[in-house]
Amino acid sequence: MPAQRDEAADGRAAGRRGSGESGESGGENAGTRNTVVRATGAAISAIEQLAGGLGTALLAFVVLMWLAVTAVLSLAGVGLLMVPAVLRALHGLADRERGRLSRWGPEVIGPGPAPTGLRLALTDPTTRRELRWLTAHASRGLFLGLSGVALPFLALRDVTFPLWWSLTPEGVTATSVGIGGIAYTWGDAVPVALLGLGWVAIIFGLTPAMARVQARPGRRLLAAGPEADLSLRVAQLTATRAAALDAHATELRRIERALHDGTQNRLVTVTVLLGAARRMVARDLPPASGPAGPHAAEELLERAQRAAEQALAELRTVARGIVPPVLADRGLAGALTGLAASCPVPCRIDVDAPERCAASVEATAYFVVAETLTNIAKHSNADKAAVSVVSRGGWLHLHVTDDGRGGADESGGSGLSGIRRRVAAHDGTLHLASPPGGPTTLEVRLPCGS
């Protein structure tokens, strides 16, 4: 998992991906550490993908063999009975692979149900594309998957070889691929360790590309082709569009509520207090019934003014809640860095969001962080806070934590329920952990595209 750490001062924060830090800062070798952390994250993620691919590749191999047997038997006639079953297996596996690929990157949307009858299947473009994928994945995909899973074991075995080779029974120990034959001396063991370092280099250098190559046939062939029937896709888009409009409507409702229940109430309070003050002044003017009159009216006017100022502040909050102006100018990384800088509690911000999300999603992410930092500053009594934002696989993950006293409660009238409403509007999830005594952790997941 990539988790970056940068200094706001290094000027990269304004870029597509950036991060900032306020409060205590890191060391000089942050750049190197950053690279190492990122490469490790990428390698781990690639190996996870290759292993997942290995699973479907093994199944693909089985289905391919079955298919071959069916084909041969079909020549004799009996195999024809097996055709629907094997086609169902093929479609099922293809769907499984679509789901897997969608979890690791952009969604792979299939062309919809494919026929299982022999005659239809022979002419069906989807089935033909799935067959081409099956052969590619059962061969190249299988090989890449096996390599990806084997590499870490090889690396571990060979790098640590000098530590344990002398303990094993004679004539058994050897390098993983037989280079140098059987090890008898330290002179034989050290090259093995060097070979292990080679494996490590391959893991860091090649696995991401291997994962991409393994996924390529699936991404190309399992997505709906240009000739595919798109009615299902249209139905899916209609559903997601309805969801997006729902989110939009919820958002508008939230704004309406903020205006009616917040700002308008403040303004009504202003008119009520002004009305009361006028009555007071009108009553007291002719006989001047002592100093109490004007004084009381003055107090009312003061309260009215305060209510008007609150109305302005709430209006500002509502407007900023719709779209924070800074977000459009400087992107999520820049906007959050600005937030951290203005937060009274020292706050570290890590943003790793190479893929830009929909504007409304970024606005929500910004809002969530802004509200949470406000809560932290107001209630938590924390010494420091940390915000990390990672976008991966079509999701934006927010993680906000502080070392304060905990015990945050959603019913306590803090901004938490507002945060939850906003996240829900985007089909996101929110998880809050705040045991008494702390620490408080807020985790939010938002789909990037809605």
Binding site: D261, R266, T269, T271, V272
Partner: protein, 219 residues
Amino acid sequence: MRIVIAEDDPLLREGLALLLRAESLDVVATAGTPAEFLTALDAHRPDVAILDVRMPPTHTDEGIVAAIEARRRRPDLAILVLSAYVEQTFATELLTGGVTHLGYLLKERVGRVEEFLDALHRVVAGGTAIDPEVVAQLFTRTRHDVRLERLSPRERDVLALMAEGLGNAAIAERLCVTHGAVHKHIRNIFAKLDLAPTDHVDRRVAAVLRYLEDVRHRV
């Protein structure tokens, strides 16, 4: 006059209480939620309840629901509902329970203290106080009513003010005409709406009701 205020916004609640107390009215309790309001209703036996429409938990029509429930418990209770905006269905729901002892005003009318107090007293005395904007909406909705088309513009103005709950004198003052002229207009309205003088019902109320009834059927 014993008053209970139900309004979830603390500042506005305090502002209202302050205004009414400054007018030497007796605010016996204030409530922030419908539940608190109903408790206060039983505990303090007020003459009138001033209710906000939008209250927790959902901030939609809790005030209306609470008002209807309060009416059920205390049929003689005067109710003045304050709303952030005019909502036809809210007005209709309220009016279904009868138009006496009832007020429905936009929140900002409270700032016009004299008119607000006037409406409050009218409601407590058993009358009606409907916001001019609500009345305007009612009339827009009933424009195609045949009976309404028989009315002259002036008569329609008079009926609108009647629907707001104003008496003859107040209507005369508002329209800058004599008391006798208002009387004549009202007589014409009754005639055009087929309200015979021998009826036992209060023809003023009947005239207004006929329109509200009509609106209710259309909603």
